[in-house]
């Protein structure tokens, strides 16, 4: 019963380290890609969701309004003022401040429609109403992801277009 402990040869150790390095590199690449995709997805999601919500809210408010106070017919402006059926929400004003879309109803407080995760720019309201109609507004704005780093995977921006025609018929 002869017993002895066999060690590793230098060659064995080198092979082991090489294999481990390759595997580790694969794992790291995989993890990096996963992280990058996650960040990109978050950027896309923020932009698309906040744009859709803001646009839907604005078009819905226009549709239910009584008349468009500003901009005047055939002009465009960076803010929209609506007269509603309620004195408490007249005027309803949409505008852009510090890269955020905002709404102000009557004498109420200003409420931001977008958060600091995104940057809104090029807000434009175009009054395209035909004469003797109650009014129609084309809304346009650009939303970009507010990335702190300038990594390519956090750069995502889209321009949203939408329009709304007041439901009330001209009397």
């Amino acid at each position: 019963m002869k017993s002895y402990t066999r060690g590793f040869t230098l060659v064995e150790v080198i092979i082991y380290i090489a294999v481990a390095a390759v595997l580790l590199a694969l794992v790291m690449t995989f993890y990096g890609a996963l992280q990058s995709a996650r960040i990109k997805e978050q950027a896309i999601n923020e932009v698309e969701t906040q744009g859709a919500v803001a646009m839907t809210l604005m078009t819905q408010t226009v549709r239910n309004a009584k008349l468009i106070t500003a901009p005047a017919t055939s002009t465009s402006a960076s803010s929209l003022s609506l007269t509603t059926y309620l004195s408490s929400t007249t005027p309803t004003v949409f505008d852009l401040s510090s890269s955020a879309l905002r709404i102000k109803e009557g004498v109420g407080t200003v409420i931001a429609l977008t958060n600091s995760q995104v940057v809104v720019s090029n807000l434009s309201f175009q009054n395209l109403s035909w004469t003797s109609t109650s009014g129609s507004i084309k809304i346009q704005f650009t939303i970009d992801y507010a990335s702190t780093t300038k990594q390519s995977n956090t750069i995502y921006g889209k321009t949203f277009y939408g329009s709304a025609t007041i439901r009330r018929l001209q009397q």
Partner: protein
């Protein structure tokens, strides 16, 4: 037996085992990466679909505004959306915004209704196109704005009065439109043998003569200004009208008619 048990085999992996393990890991990694990447594409496509829907809705809203101006503006065809002179306008057969192509089709349903279909298509990826289609029906609302629809006739207080109860009093006419409406004809029907001899609107005699029930009376055109209520001062008959029910049809300047029925005159 005992000798064999004591014989310790050196451990470790063979190269085959290593390759199998690495292969399995690679498969898993591919699956996960694929899931994440396709998830990202899905989010992007959902966003595109949302923006396409907003553009399609824009087509519907523009058509609605064009209809509001005049129903006759909605000519059956397929259009792109544009602006001209600061208002909505149709141009070509489609229009393009970013990656989206929009076309609006107007087709007839009946004399007073058009179907408007707004379709937006875009390339979702290299092999597939996305498409969003919204449909609405637009009605000729100008038909609703007839003079007769703006005339509110209150017959609740109609009564027979005067000497021998030969006069009908207590009816009022109100114009609820934002423009003047004009009454041009009155047709009154009742049971019995009495004839109508005189009509006074707002204390002015607008018709006199002798006509039987159901005759059309060409009265002096009587305009009613916005928001004003005028009294039907009296309809004079040749007999006692107590207990009679009178059906009155007012014909307006635009040809529209308004029919009212009084209660049995007290």
């Amino acid at each position: 037996m005992q000798k064999e048990r004591l014989h310790i085999k050196p451990g470790g992996f063979s190269i085959i085992e290593l390759i199998v393990a690495a292969g399995l890991m690679l498969l898993l990694a591919t699956a996960f990466t694929g899931a994440v990447l396709y998830g990202e594409e899905g989010t992007q496509i959902a966003g595109q679909r949302m923006r396409a829907t907003l553009l399609a809705e824009e087509g519907i809203q523009a058509a609605r505004n064009v209809r509001d101006q005049s129903f006759s503006n909605l000519v059956d065809s397929t259009y792109g959306l544009a602006q001209s002179g600061g208002v909505w306008f149709a141009s070509g057969a489609s229009d393009t915004q970013d990656i989206f192509t929009r076309s609006i089709t107007v087709s007839p349903v009946d004399a007073v209704t058009k179907q408007v279909v707004s379709t937006v298509t875009w390339p979702e990826n290299a092999v597939r196109n996305g498409s969003v289609s919204l449909t609405t029906y637009l009605t000729n609302t100008q038909l609703l704005a007839t003079q007769a629809n703006s005339l509110v006739v209150n017959v609740a207080a109609a009564n027979a009065a005067g000497v021998g109860n030969v006069d009908m009093l207590g009816v009022t006419l109100k114009n609820v439109a934002s423009s003047t409406v004009t009454v041009t004809q009155i047709q009154a029907s009742w049971s019995g043998v009495a004839s109508i001899t005189q009509v006074l609107l707002n204390a002015v005699t607008v018709w006199s003569g002798t006509q039987s029930s159901g005759s059309i009376l060409n009265i002096t055109d009587t305009p009613i200004a916005t928001g004003i209520t005028i009294p039907v001062t009296r309809f004079r008959f040749t007999a006692d009208m107590t207990g009679k029910v009178i059906t009155i049809i007012f014909t307006m300047l635009d040809g529209s008619t308004k029919t009212v029925i009084t209660p049995a005159l007290p």
